[in-house]
């Protein structure tokens, strides 16, 4: 079942000359892990902001969990269904103690105290930050802060979590931490994840990759289908993962090798085949 559906979604920022999104029609399955890739200005962040009713469509419709995001009376239902994690962890942490920050959404929902306690403990455990419950957020590393921010969104018990470049401001180890937590969430709890990113390696971990360009969907498919189109990606000013590039460079026509080597192991397998041939 589709949890998010957009129908001919169009959006133009005030004072802008052209549309940031022009006719995006997509449907995202519940429980899937979707990565949205695109160059700067491709409209990927604008798209993400529509899934949470931060922006409302200029034309077309967005349905989140079956609810039209333009319906103001259902705003909280939309935001409860699709939680949003932003790029800068510093600018989304409200409280001065980790557990109080995770509790923020539950407090706004007016939940009873025992329920808040339960959810806070659960969500901190889900992102592996339980031992930091009483810490001050500004003393944590970037990756840890971003995991706290994720826990803060999870506490609403959303069915879908939308992340707008959550790793853009992190160092490589922080990035790995966050991506591991996200993958685990998707696999273990069946949470729908929509990851906006410009790291190919992160997108390769998803079930589905959507590439956007100039407000339109340019490519859509499994990571293998998308990343094997090395030339098409170059046209979209994106670089395929290094493994794919290597295989492609060795055998551009794809006579011996299939350009679907996403992981290092697959790449090694392909190279062995090449050497034998």
């Amino acid at each position: 079942m589709a949890i998010i559906e957009t129908k001919d979604l169009t959006f133009r920022y005030e004072d802008a000359d052209s549309d940031a999104l022009c006719g995006v029609t997509l449907s995202i399955e519940e429980g899937s892990f979707t990565a949205i890739l695109g160059h700067n200005g491709s409209g990927k962040s604008t798209f993400a902001k529509h899934l949470n009713a931060i922006l409302l469509p200029s034309g077309g419709k967005v349905y989140v969990g079956g609810v039209d995001t333009a319906d103001e009376s259902r705003l909280f239902d939309v935001r409860k269904t699709a939680g949003m994690v932003f790029q800068n962890p510093d600018n989304q942490i409200v409280a001065t103690v980790v557990e109080e920050d995770v509790a923020f959404a539950c407090e706004n929902m007016g939940l009873p105290q025992e329920e808040i306690r339960k959810r806070v403990d659960e969500c901190l455990a889900a992102v592996g930050m339980s031992e930091y419950a009483r810490h001050a957020p500004h003393l944590l590393s970037g990756g840890q802060k971003q995991r706290v921010a994720i826990a803060g969104v999870l506490a609403m018990r959303p069915r879908c979590i939308v992340m707008d470049e959550p790793t853009a401001m992190l160092d490589p180890s922080g990035r790995a931490e966050v991506i591991r937590a996200v993958q685990q969430l998707n696999r273990e709890t069946g949470m729908t994840v929509i990851l906006i990113t410009h790291h190919m390696e992160e997108a390769a971990l998803a079930d589905r990759v959507i590439v956007m360009k100039q407000g339109k969907v340019a490519l859509d498919g499994t990571p293998k289908q998308v990343f094997s189109q090395v030339d098409r990606l170059r046209e979209l000013s994106l670089a395929a993962p290094q493994t794919v590039q290597l295989v492609h460079a060795l055998d551009p026509a794809g006579t011996v090798l299939s350009p679907e080597a996403l992981s290092v192991e697959e790449c090694v397998g392909q190279l062995m085949k090449y050497l034998e041939a």
């Binding site: 409200v94 001065t96 109080e100 539950c106 009873p112 105290q113």
Partner: protein, 266 residues
């Protein structure tokens, strides 16, 4: 300079002072401040100083941290002390040109300096042992009755807690901008106070711009987490008075009452 600002720095702990209800801490602090400004004379002050030292020991906060909180106010203390020293009329002890020192001047100067020191030290102790979030909860709760006359108590408390939350972030950012400007040849250390203040302009402008951007992002993030004002909000930690608070209240009333009684009697 910037790392000395300790306002709003909370040191998590489990001492009785940490466990106390923030409302009682706040009320006791107000009582204490009133006391130090009401009393005069050696013995009442001695009681006040001893009470604060005892509180610091109980709190398990390193005394060094409390002393550090005093460093930024050193100039104010000296200034008030000197003013009082030279401008209090009374029995003259010493005279040089237009400066004269009186016995009353010495007493007032010492008292004023001590008052300011106690005021800042006791307030820092409160912020060291109380998370800013529970402090604003306490304020919101204590000022709750004002909601009836439509005073924006919740909004005020929220603004304050966010301001406190962003102090370390903005200090860190200021340091970063200062380093960036220094790397491009800015000079913050030499020159008189005016040229130094002027040198800070290229630090403050980017700092303000970024603060506004942060504010906008934070507002969006809060809305995404269903924030809609104080209506119908519940709390993870609700406030309740316990036995610790009762004992603290009795002690505080005894100490402050004792100091005031001594002041009246002597």
């Amino acid at each position: 300079m910037l790392k000395d600002i300790t306002l709003g720095q909370y040191f998590p702990g489990t001492s009785p002072l940490h466990r106390m209800d923030p409302r009682s801490k706040l009320l006791i602090l107000i009582l204490y401040i009133v006391t130090i400004f009401v009393v005069k004379g050696l013995f009442p002050y001695l009681i006040c100083v001893l009470a604060l030292i005892t509180a610091v020991i109980i709190s398990t906060i390193p005394p060094k941290m409390v002393l550090r909180s005093l460093r930024p106010i050193l100039i104010i203390v000296l200034f008030t002390g000197l003013l009082n020293l030279f401008y209090t009329p009374g029995v003259e002890l010493f005279h040089l040109w237009i400066f004269k020192i009186t016995r009353e001047g010495i007493a007032t100067a010492a008292a004023m300096a001590l008052r300011i020191i106690l005021l800042v030290a006791s307030t820092s102790l409160l912020t060291y042992t109380t998370s800013p979030m529970s402090l604003t909860d306490a304020l919101e709760n204590l000022l709750g009755p004002l909601k009836k006359i439509k005073a924006p108590v919740h909004e005020f408390a929220m603004m304050m807690s966010i301001a406190l939350r962003f102090i370390p972030t903005l200090i860190e950012e200021t340091n970063k901008i200062m380093s960036a400007q220094k790397a491009r040849g800015a000079d913050f250390e030499s020159g008189n106070i005016f040229s130094r203040a002027k040198a800070l302009v290229p630090v403050l402008v980017p700092l303000f711009v970024s603060a506004f951007r942060r504010a906008e992002e934070l507002a969006t993030a809060m809305e995404c987490r269903l924030y809609h004002g104080g209506e119908g909000r519940t709390r993870l930690h609700s406030l309740h008075y316990g036995r610790v608070d009762l004992i603290a209240a009795i002690l505080a009333v005894a100490v402050c009452g004792g100091a005031i009684a001594l002041h009246i009697l002597l």
